[in-house]
């Protein structure tokens, strides 16, 4: 009994057979292109020239970006970080509030919770245009409703555009955070709460010392996914503002597009900016995944 298991599940040959093809494919379609991206970022390649005309320029593309010769580079990094931090914080707080709101007995709960699925299934590119219609200053439905209060907002003006794209992110992803945290609340064991009742702890103390620590893995996952996806977002912002007006919503991902694909065609410089984005997301995801692994060491799950 089970003796043979030692053979099969520790056999190298079978392991390579099972895991090999997928890992090999990932190396081919992810690692090699990434190495190629690094290479291009050290060249002067430009969409208008032949590949053989490229020159090796060392770190000049990176110098062009960080020295301030490219006036839009640093602002785009700041806009990206602003977008990430603000949207993640709002989504987390709102999502937690909605999770707590639904964490009780109520009539028709399943139906109400199904409504939360709608925002996260709508194609992000479509979401962008949906909101573009609603944001319109003259005939958008948002200003029409605000009109009853005597307010009219110029949503896509340079002072408001960043707030407007963050609102769209919040609309699309708050339900996602809420669903994750709701799952966490539902899975909490009862005993610690009964014990704290006996000890006469206040509800705030219970939340801080019992609920939050036990929810840690869920909280980490929600923050991990939202912050990284916000850092690399492209579709909704492109559809809503294309980085404008001016460069009010030009995130780093849109700056890459502008350098490489719009007007200029500077693929070398654009690749250098893409490397910066890659390093930012890698640093953040490495840090958060480490935290996640720590959280899960204790519990089950990952």
């Amino acid at each position: 009994m089970g003796l043979k298991s030692a053979d099969y599940w520790s056999s190298r040959r079978y392991l390579y057979l099972f895991v090999g093809p997928a890992i090999l494919s990932l190396v081919l379609i992810v690692i090699l292109p990434t190495i190629f991206l690094w290479y291009v970022s050290f060249t002067s390649y430009d969409l208008g020239m032949g590949w053989e005309k490229r020159a090796f320029v060392g770190l000049r593309n990176f110098y062009f970006l960080i020295s301030g010769q490219d006036r839009e580079f640093w602002p785009s990094v700041v806009v990206s970080l602003k977008y990430m931090v603000i949207s993640t914080i709002i989504e987390f707080i709102l999502g937690f509030a909605i999770a707590i709101l639904f964490n009780r007995k109520m009539i028709g709960k399943r139906l109400w919770m199904s409504c939360l699925l709608v925002p996260l299934t709508v194609t992000p590119a479509v979401v962008a245009l949906m909101w573009k219609l609603m944001y319109n200053t003259e005939y958008g439905v948002i200003n029409y409703i605000l009109g009853f209060l005597g307010i009219s907002v110029n949503w896509l003006s340079s002072s408001m555009a960043l707030i407007s794209v963050i609102i769209v992110d919040v609309w699309q992803w708050t339900p996602f955070v809420a669903l994750i945290l709701y799952a966490g609340l539902q899975a909490l064991p009862q005993e610690p709460y009964e014990a704290s009742m006996v000890d006469g702890a206040s509800s705030l103390q219970v939340f801080r010392y019992i609920t939050l620590p036990m929810m840690r893995p869920m909280i980490t996952i929600a923050i991990l996914l939202r912050s990284i996806d916000a850092l690399k977002v492209f579709d909704t912002v492109y559809g809503l503002t294309q980085g404008g007006p001016g460069n009010a919503t030009e995130l780093l991902s849109l700056h890459i597009y502008r350098l490489g694909f719009q007007h200029t065609g500077w693929i070398g410089r654009s690749s250098a900016a893409a490397i910066v984005l890659l390093l930012l997301t890698t640093a953040l995801s490495t840090y958060l995944l480490k935290a996640l692994r720590r959280d899960y060491k204790a519990g089950e799950g990952i």
Binding site: R12, L26, Y139, P175, F234, A274
Partner: protein
Amino acid sequence: MRMLIAFLVALTVIFCLFPFIWMVMTSFKTRILAIDPSVWIFKPTFENYLAVFTRRNLAMYIKNSVVVVVFTTLLSMLLAVFAAYGFARFRFKRKEDLAFWVLSLRMLPAMSVVIPFFLLGRFLHLLDTHILLIIVYMSFNIPFAIWMMRGFIEEIPRELEEAAWVDGCTLFQGVVKVVFPLVMPGLAATAIFIVIQSWNEFALALFLTSFAARTVPTTITFFLSVMGVIWGEMASVGVITTLPVLLFALFVQKYLIRGLTFGAIKS
């Protein structure tokens, strides 16, 4: 208190649904009505839906999307299901490190992946083909599928397979006869998630296709230049794009949290 709860629930539901409902309403409005937000009750027209199929060639883009989605899903599932089994069952050194490396690939920004693939596509004359898009889409779907299915396989007791071996099954027979039937719902859910993610993808499709292989989400760019003229048509494209995804999402509602967290949370 109960009134307050009811009010807050209503507010949440309206906040989630309203933009989508507004888009559905706009898609049934005539061109004049589409720019009049004070009209909420009207006689619906189907002219926008007709127009996007006759004038904007939507059927072709839907066909492209379907081709890309089907092949991406099949290939990703085929490669990932065996790798997932390997991660779930085998004992080997640095297994978790390798698994987390795979997971970190899901975090890659599309805008970093797009440049090398754009250049490779240019050199190999693969730009604007289904094949290029399918290959790129596998890059984020394989890591997702490996993690998702690993969780499902780990839930099947190992003893079932060991018992099958005692009865004379080989490793492969055990996988096919014992594990696969039990994880079928999980495999189906994983496949549906890949369908949704590939169907919705925008950035890569925008830069790697131009006309012949263009997918549905990228058609929103038609509506970026001619501002404020054809909102009705835009909304109907939006509805057509979203409906299949909504239906699929209802199918996998039970596994939704799991899918969105790549199998980390098993609710």
